[in-house]
Amino acid sequence: MENENQLLDINHLHTGFRIKDDFYDAVDDVSISLEKNEILAIVGESGCGKSTLATTIMGLHDPNKTKVAGEVIYQDLNLVDLNEELYNKIRGNDIGMIFQDPLSALNPLMRIQDQIAESLIFHTKLSKEKRYERVLELLEQVGIPNPPRVAKQYPHELSGGMRQRVMIAIALSCKPPIIIADEPTTALDVTIQAQILDLLKELQEENGTGIILITHDLGVVAEMADRVAVMYAGQVVEEAEVGELFNNPKHPYTRSLLNSIPQMDSENDELHVIDGVVPSLVKLPRKGCRFAARIPWIAAEEHEENPVMHEVAPNHFVRCTCYKNFHFEEGGE
């Protein structure tokens, strides 16, 4: 699949965490790619491995406690094999990252301007004056009123929305072609969330950035994404264009999730509940369909022994065969 628009190509990526003496994969054989000018949403509930995937791409895991295998190809480089020194040239410069809680993600003792200028120190040869000019430019770009003043302030002096704008400015500072946004609006109020999402989208369209948007909020996905990958228990279980995914969801997990959203029109109906709980990393079944235990009324032979992705429509992939005859439990609770 050679494609000149392709920014990032992830193949068979595994990230295992050490628990006692064994490694357990939190990201288990994920293959996915990101193109230029695209927002790829990765959606799933807590513990599905979506944030681990993000930190793996950034190479931020402690090598003593994690084992990473597979490929993250960026410009003919496999990031997984890079040494620290080379990786530092990529981080911030080619891939920017935005975190969930902008208050804890900013250093409380550093002025805003120094935090934004920091990536410029390590990736550009700009003089100090030029760096601060760029800082003001960036603050302006992310819609912060009165940049010269804010530049000299500390994180605690800003509101949540403003802090997240600062985080975006940091991520944008070296104009990276890729941005990873890990739950960028979860800690914010809805009206602020809307503003931040609009800003991200605008900046993305302006610069042709590819964004990996990690979120648990299907509403945010529907508003923002071009393509969506749904993760469950460390694996991608469904991947499709955003319209296709919401209008024609196939995997039982995707369908169940969509049914459990309390939405505007479902008013007094009972919400759908998925039986059981997500198994812990250690107890996760490593064989067979991982969702099988949550839909016990589906016969065992509907599942594949080693579930793989099936292309059910152009560019719409679903893991395991159980989607074919899936139905919700009749007269269920």
């Binding site: 109020d189 809805v190 809307a194 529907a222 008013e267």
Partner: protein
């Protein structure tokens, strides 16, 4: 008929300053809230962070000192004796918290956690108490042996259900639920919400459902109030609020909710932009000269809105 009336409730915090650290001003965390609560209904209280919605819940629970106003419970003013040991009000009004983990004492067994309100308000023999706890566990869908376990042995959703079991242990009339599902995953959230509805029917409970999530509130509530800067900007039935919002702040909130409607995403965005624009241009006329929200005025029997002149809103 309403059994609980909140009249002009105020909670002001002093700001100290100056040379002698005297009170120089107040934070108006709650500034004149009125509400009336009927049996078996769910009341939504929506607002963004800092709007005072949690303070309202705490003030009703007596966890926050009331500066002014009255809480009238079954015809009696209880605002002075709130938190009194033997008041029926304390037994009849219970609370569920957002963070189930920190609201359950990690050193106590589930049995003792759930029994706490029973031991406070009722005199039961050990056998009766055990029977009640088993009933409660059954209602919240937990197995019997959960009784002897500790909170950390349960998942987030299960802990929240234990929190609910504790809240309903003394058959209260009102449960104040402060962001009860905000920390939960979607599928777990669905479970807790369903089950809150189930026990509501079973006990004829009322809820004051405090949340920032308009989707959840719409699903759960009969009546919704929108809060901003310690005051209510709009209050009405679900239809009033969602189909015919009058106050610009309500409109903004509703427009900002991400919708699962991928085809109309541009329309939705344009609408959001339009509301934001309107907000920017006309913000001033929605608040008085001090930026304070106006008093609520009745638009219809159920629908109240805080506008200077009721006509301003229009459609």
């Amino acid at each position: 008929m309403s059994f609980l009336e909140i009249e002009d409730l105020k909670v002001h915090y002093p700001i100290r300053g100056g040379f002698f650290n005297t009170v120089v001003d107040h934070v108006y965390a709650l500034d004149g809230i009125n509400m009336s609560i009927e049996r078996g209904k769910t009341y939504g209280l929506v607002g963004e962070s800092g709007s005072g919605k949690s303070t309202t819940g705490k003030a009703i629970m007596g966890l926050e000192k009331i500066t002014d106003g009255r809480i009238i419970y079954e015809g009696k003013d209880v605002s002075k004796q709130i938190r009194g040991k033997n008041s029926t009000y304390n037994r009849d009004v219970q609370m569920i918290f957002q963070d189930a983990t920190s609201s359950l004492n990690p050193k106590k067994r589930v049995r003792d956690i759930i029994a706490e309100p029973i031991r406070n308000f009722e005199r039961l023999t050990e056998g009766e108490e055990k029977k009640r706890i088993l009933e409660l566990l059954d209602i919240v869908g937990m197995p019997e042996d959960a009784m002897y376990k500790y909170p950390h042995e349960f998942s987030g959703g299960q802990k929240q259900r234990l929190g609910v079991a504790r809240a309903v242990a003394c058959r209260p009339k009102l449960i104040v639920a402060d962001e009860p599902v905000s920390a939960l995953d979607l599928s777990v959230q669905a479970q807790v919400l369903n089950f809150m509805k189930d026990i509501q029917e079973e006990y004829g409970l009322s809820y004051l459902f405090i949340s920032h999530d308009l989707g959840v509130v719409k699903h759960m509530c009969d009546h919704i109030s929108i809060m901003y800067r310690g005051r209510l900007v709009e209050s009405g039935t679900r239809e009033d609020i969602y189909k015919d919002p009058q106050h610009i702040y309500t409109k903004r909130l509703i427009a900002a909710i991400p919708e699962i409607d991928t085809e109309n995403r541009e329309v939705h965005k344009a609408n959001r932009r339009r509301v934001e624009e309107e907000y920017r241009q006309n913000e001033k006329q929605y608040y008085d000269e001090n930026g304070k929200v106006y008093d609520l005025k009745s638009l219809t029997d159920t629908h109240k809105v805080a506008l200077k002149n009721i006509e301003v809103g229009g459609n």
